[in-house]
C-alpha cells in the first residue's frame, strides 16, 4: 500500500522535476531504476567496510574496555571483601584474646584470694590455738592458786578455830576434831 501511494506521488513529483528542467528522466527518485546499480555498489562497499571495521576493530575494542572495567570493579569488590574478612578475623581474634586474658586474670585473682584466705585462716587458727593454750595455762594456774589458797584458808581457819576454842574454853581442842569441824563448815 505504501508502495502504490509512493508511486502515485512519484508520478506527480516526476512532473515537477521535469518541469524544473530535471536531469533525471522524470521518475520519482526512489523508484528510478537507473540509479539502483550505483546505490547497490556503494552500499555493498560501504556496508562491507563498516562490517569489517565493526567486527574486527570497533567491537573488540569497546567490548574489551567494558570487560576490563567489569573485571576491575569485580576485582576491587573482591579485594574489599577480602580486606573486610581479614579485619573481621582480626577483630574476632582480638576479642578471643581479650576474653582469654580476662578469664586468666579472674583465675589468677581467685587463686590469690584463696591462697591469702587460706594463709590468714591458718594464721588465725594458730593464733587461736596459742591463745587457747595460754588461756588453759592461766586457768590451770588460777585453779592451783585457788586450791593453794583454799588449803591455806583451811589451815588458817583450823588454827583460828583452835585458838578461839582455847581462849573461850581454855582447853586445847583435838586437832582432828577441829579439822573435821572446819571441813564441815567449809562444805556447808
Amino acid at each position: 500500500m505504501a508502495e502504490s501511494h509512493g508511486e502515485a506521488k512519484g508520478q506527480n513529483a516526476g512532473a515537477h522535476t521535469e518541469a524544473e528542467g530535471g536531469h533525471h528522466g522524470g521518475a520519482f527518485p526512489p523508484f528510478d531504476s537507473s540509479n539502483y546499480a550505483s546505490q547497490l555498489v556503494s552500499l555493498a562497499i560501504a556496508f562491507v567496510a563498516l562490517y569489517l571495521i565493526v567486527s574486527r576493530i570497533a567491537l573488540p575494542r569497546v567490548g574489551g574496555t567494558i570487560d576490563a572495567r567489569q573485571n576491575k570493579i569485580e576485582g576491587d569488590l573482591a579485594e574489599a571483601q577480602k580486606l573486610k574478612d581479614e579485619s573481621d578475623a582480626a577483630l574476632k581474634a582480638y576479642e578471643t584474646e581479650l576474653a582469654n586474658a580476662r578469664a586468666n586474670a579472674q583465675a589468677i585473682g581467685n587463686e590469690t584470694r584463696e591462697k591469702l584466705n587460706a594463709a590468714s585462716e591458718a594464721e588465725r587458727k594458730a593464733l587461736e590455738e596459742k591463745l587457747a593454750a595460754k588461756l588453759a595455762d592461766a586457768e590451770k594456774q588460777i585453779a592451783t592458786t585457788r586450791t593453794n589458797a583454799m588449803s591455806n584458808v583451811r589451815g588458817i581457819a583450823a588454827d583460828a578455830a583452835g585458838a578461839i576454842v582455847q581462849q573461850l574454853a581454855g582447853v586445847t581442842p583435838d586437832a582432828n576434831a577441829v579439822n573435821s569441824a572446819v571441813d564441815a563448815s567449809l562444805k556447808g
Partner: protein, 249 residues
Amino acid sequence: MKIDPIHQFNIEPLFTLGHIGNHTIAFTNSSLYMFIAVLLIALLMLASGRDLVPGRLQSVAEISYEFVATTIRSTAGSEGMKFFPLIFSIFMFLCVSNLVGVIPYTFTISSHLIVTAALALLVFFTVLFYGLYKNGLKFFKIFVPSGVPIYILPLVMFIEVLSFFLRPVSHSVRLFANMLAGHIALKVFAGFVAMLGFSLGALGWVGGVLPLALTIALYALELLVAFLQAYVFAILTCIYLNDAIHPGH
C-alpha cells in the same frame, strides 16, 4: 516560489566509477552519505578513549554497544551474539545515516527503497542460510506452529510460509516509507512558511508562525523516528535471526 518536496531524494552522480554491463556505476550523493555514516561510526567507535571512567564520546560508544548487545540477548538469546557485528553494523548504519539525514540539505540514504530492500534481503538470506545450515530440515519447523489442530494446519502453514517470504517486503518498506513520508511532510510544512511569506508579505510572515511551529514539532518527531526506525529494523533482524537459531516455537 515553488515547493518541491521530492527534490531532496534526487540521486546526483558526483563522478563515474565504471560500468557493469550497460549500467553506469557512479559515485553519487547517496554513496557520499553512506561513507559519511561509515566514517562517523568508525570515528565514534575508534576515536573514543578506553578509560576506566568514560568521557562523553566513550560513553556514547559504550552505550550503543550495550544497547545493541542487550537487544540481541533479550530477543535472540545469548546465541544471537554470533550476529552481534552484523546487527550492530545495521543498527548503527541506519541510526547514524537517518540522524544525519534529518539535518537540512543532507541526503537520507534509507529514503530509497533499493537500499532498505538490499539490507532486508541481506537479513532474509542470512536467516535462511544460517537456519538451514544450523538446523538442517528442522528449520522448516518455523512454518509448523506447535499446538495447532491438524485440520487447520495446512492453512496455518500456508500463512506462515507466506508471511516468511513477505518479511523482507515489510522489513524494507517500513523503514523506507517512514523516512520518505517524514521528510516529505517536513519539507511541505517548512515550504508553507516561505510560501506564505513570499506571497502575502508581512501578513504571510505572521501567518507562517503556525506552519513553523508544526515544522518544529515534526522535526522533533522525525528525530525520534530516525532513531526508532533504525531500532525497529535492528530488533526485527534479531527476531528473524531468533527463528534461525531456535526454530520450532
